[in-house]
Symmetry: C3
């Protein structure tokens, strides 16, 4: 949606310097931007900003002062990246034409699809699925029966919501399927990445709370509850009946065992592993497998790196004291 | 399929206490159950059981005795969870209406699909694929040509069976594809999770033996053989030409290298890594990367945690002996 | 495409020994081969080769000499596996009949699909997507708008190319989506595995350079650049804005952080983890998390294994010197 520089400045509560009437229709990086593009500069990109062909650049107030003699039209704000993101939300708004539900989508639910929700080619929506307003389901999303999707939810291509959880009971040598008849609830403003899987509850409900963002190829098992405004990066797996507190940040390829419980504001580093049943308290930053406080992990890594030195001292000490041992071999 | 409490008691060889004619139509957790639901209690849930509205509760014989004065209808058995699972198998049986093969499925095989097998929306079944009886293929499963699927196999949405294995031969700087023309055989009673991939053999066959259960987002590479009655949790990857012995339990995010061999009854902890060519003997429990016996792994972790203390003793010893070294810096 | 043994020998510049006119129509392993199959033997398979029913076997010159009295038709070459792979490329060539674009594929691009490119059932090709010649898109591939695919590219079932990258900016407690409007470019001769995800750039472009092969369930994040002739095994994840140099080999389940940079010819062992911003120099072989040179990693593992011995020496030393500490408890 086209905007003038002045309209953008008003939107992001910024101070406009330059041509108020310049017309902007999209966004781009400093390097790629043309005269119709809004761009933004973090402080360290000042030189690149000076050479940019962007029609208008969002900058920090400090950067605006130091570049007062530029020919560029600038908008000075406190947080350029956030302001740029807000402006992009308006500039990139498109009114999609055509039917909001692709004619190859298979809709088996009896409930009406929410207003302005778009359902892409090849999606399959099972029975008794509720989908709110202003959602986007990209092509080939599968939603099993008995799932509730809120408003403004984005599901990327290939995501599978509501498949049976992985739970079996041994009967002699055979594994019998424990019932997987619970629901999935995905609240407002959640985004779920391509080919990510969110399993239905066994007898309870799997819940993704509002505002949470989940990347591609993530596994959310049965009965899991993810708190609100949490981000979970690609290829992370969260095992059955675990809870992740709100405002947490889970990096890529993290593994969380069953019945684990992460307090609000937990941060887990890439590839960290949380044990079954573990309670991670007080919003800690953890890393490693088994996951431990970041400081502790780094200290252990440092010690590990010093092991060769340590071994040679030990040898020297043993020699001095006349102790013999297998380290001499 | 509706059952009376008496019918369920007979089915699971339990001792009925209470109303034999109560009618049950589904299952639920103690917390969620209503008067038409069967539920079950493990010993630790006794208080919750007392407050449940379930029409009938499967309990252990010990729990039945201690709650003899309850108003609930109970069925006492040795293993409540297993008995509940067996009963749920009957109560949750539904007779699906409509065509068993969805009209959007693309069936290119010349072989007839087995009786009572259901094929969901958007599935693609390649040439010369054989599928047995009573299977369920959820939406959007892709089966490449020349794959054999047994009876009572469940394939969840987005699973890909029979894609080319990942094998290349270097010709100067280019990678040429080594032929990937082997088959995939999936035996009876196997379940495969959403978006999981099972590659075809290169010149041999990839085999998943009967009764094995595989979770979501798992990778099974070419020429792998998984023994019977094995469970493999989400996001695990098994590299080319490896064999996993029957009755094994592989946790989530485990990586198994090429040409590895796991004896029967192997147990691998989450995120464990088995090296290329490794032979894991005698049904061990392993953890860590490289995977080692669990006891050893835990001992190493404990030692690692004591490194700071160890370092300070070393310093003290060195001071006493007048040894100098870089640790002083 | 049928060939005589002589034609194959000419193709792979080998020395034919035996029947020049034998007709070959496929390839197989030594064990499975019949009279119409070409097979190959590495030196260690000599005994198996002697018992094979293959119509013709590609062998090393050394093996050919030592098996001079065999009844088999042999072709002697320097590198049997490579020669076999080249020959298989010709023998397994099939002329696909029927329309190259399946009638259930949804094609929204305005650009013509390149000659001889095959698009499988249920594929979805978004607007402004360019696809070159001789590509194969297996069923259910999704390509989002504004993606460029070169020639001879193979995309396996369920692959998702061009989904939004995972980038958000915090606005108070909410996460706002940073614009994800960049392109994806996939160059000639790239192969991408089943259910693998390649995200579009945010403001820049995600690029997979020519000849690179990517396995199943891999995650390639926004703005990543993968150099040419690189192989990336299953379940590896490469985070935003990282670059992988050409001719690299990335094993399975590797995690590479954001803004990392791998020099050409880097080799990463399975489950290795490269930190955010790390520059891996000079084509090293690395392993572990955080990834370090393989030798160093192995030495640390060896030291770790010797910790129990070390602990008992320390105890002995402390006793001798009369030092007391918590290790005694």
């Amino acid at each position: 949606m086209k905007q003038t520089a002045q309209q953008i400045a008003d939107l992001i509560h910024g101070k406009l310097m330059g041509r108020a009437d310049i017309e902007l229709s999209s966004v781009a990086s400093l390097k790629n931007a043309g005269s119709g593009d809004l761009s933004y500069a973090e402080d360290k990109f000042l030189a690149e900003a000076a050479q940019s062909h962007a029609g208008c650049i969002v900058v920090s107030s400090a950067a605006a002062e130091s570049s007062s003699r530029t020919d560029h039209t600038l908008i000075a704000v406190k947080n350029p990246k956030l302001a740029f993101t807000l402006a992009a939300g308006v500039l990139l708004q498109v009114t999609e034409s055509g039917s909001p539900i692709h004619n190859t989508a298979v809709i088996e639910t009896e409930h009406p699809i929410g207003a302005n929700t778009r359902i892409g080619a090849g999606c399959v929506i099972g029975r008794n699925v509720k989908i709110g307003t202003n959602c986007v389901l990209y092509p080939r999303v599968v939603i099993y029966p008995n799932v509730e999707i809120g408003n403004r939810v984005i599901l990327h291509a290939g995501a599978v919501i509501g498949a049976d959880g992985f739970g079996f009971v041994k009967d002699g040598e055979r594994y019998l399927p424990f019932p997987q008849i619970g629901k999935v609830i995905i609240e407002d403003d959640v985004e779920i990445g391509a080919n990510t899987c969110v399993d239905r509850g066994s007898l309870e409900t799997t819940i993704i709370r509002r505002g949470t963002k989940i990347d591609n190829l993530v596994q959310i098992a049965h009965n899991v509850e993810i708190g609100e405004h949490t981000v979970i990066a690609s290829q992370t797996g969260i095992s059955g009946s675990s809870t992740v507190g709100p405002h947490s940040i889970i990096a890529g390829q993290v593994g969380i065992g069953e019945h684990a419980r992460l307090d609000p504001h937990t941060i887990l580093g890439g590839q960290a592993g949380v044990l079954n049943g573990k309670h991670v308290r007080g919003g800690e930053v953890l890393w490693g497998t088994p996951a431990r406080p970041l400081k502790e992990f780094l200290k252990q890594q440092a010690h590990l790196a010093r092991m060769p030195a340590l071994m040679s001292w030990l040898k020297e000490i043993k020699t001095k004291l006349g102790i013999r041992g297998e380290s001499d071999s």
